[in-house]
Assembly symmetry: C2
Homo-oligomer: 155 residues x 2
């Protein structure tokens, strides 16, 4: 009897079979898990990602930050203005090239790193897995990310 109640000729589109949804949901879960921890520092999750970049490469340009996080200026400019307004960073035009804006950590931005380390440890702990397991999964997801970005009609 075809056309019964829930006739699934294609299990391909069942929500629970979708890797894309699993990733979408996990991304939100990470944001939510980090939220109470980042609230204490006073930054949002995307702002925390920007700080991760700056702790590694202080003085990066808006474009460099965007290149690492895959975000464009339309997202970063207002976000950086908020980080600046809250005292975490300073934004200044590069003397040698007035087109680029360099973002530097303030003392406050530098200090926030300590709390970030603690936050990250708390999350890892709550995952109840080993660091190697986390890195293994990270590698798989990064590989997926790469394939998605290098395949489309463009590029």
């Amino acid at each position: 009897m075809p056309h019964t109640h829930k006739d699934q000729d294609t299990p391909e589109l069942l929500l629970e079979n979708q890797l894309c949804f699993a990733v979408y949901s996990a991304a939100h879960a990470f944001t939510a898990a980090y939220k109470p921890l980042l609230d204490q520092i006073g930054v949002t999750y995307p702002q925390y990602l920007v700080l991760l970049v700056l702790w590694e490469a202080n003085g990066s340009s808006v474009g460099e930050i965007g290149g690492k996080l895959n975000l464009d200026s339309g997202t970063l400019t207002p976000l950086l203005k908020r980080l600046e307004a809250q005292g975490f960073v300073s934004r200044n035009r590069d003397k040698n090239d007035e087109r680029v804006v360099r973002v530097h950590l303030t003392a406050m931005g530098r200090d926030a790193r300590i709390h970030a380390v603690a936050a990250r440890r708390a999350i890892v702990c709550s995952l109840e897995t080993t660091e190697p397991e986390i890195q293994k999964l990270k590698t798989l997801v990064t590989e997926l990310d790469g394939r998605l970005r290098t395949s489309g009609p463009n590029r």
Copy 2:
């Protein structure tokens, strides 16, 4: 010599070691990969997720959709209004409980399923992996999602 150039006492916070960023980035990559395909149907990626739910459970309430997608009414109400304005669904109060709004697919919403199957196949194909591999990774990510959601200070 401590404090050299890029002194990393804690590789814990290196961007490329962050599972959370890998997931964050992959989620955006999925959205971008689906975009040109969904553009042809005329829906956004989150709207597509709602359609996935409805193709499986037509007539779901706003709350039921949100329960499956982990989205609240603040996100869904305007999204559903747009889906309705574009002719994919209808929204009506439940006769037995005037608080709940039931969402039903229109003929157009039902028909869009065909194109969605094609879109999903195109994405899977671009990943150059087998369906079992995709499902394996999906399982790992879903497990991660679960741990993140059941650990926090709440719950």
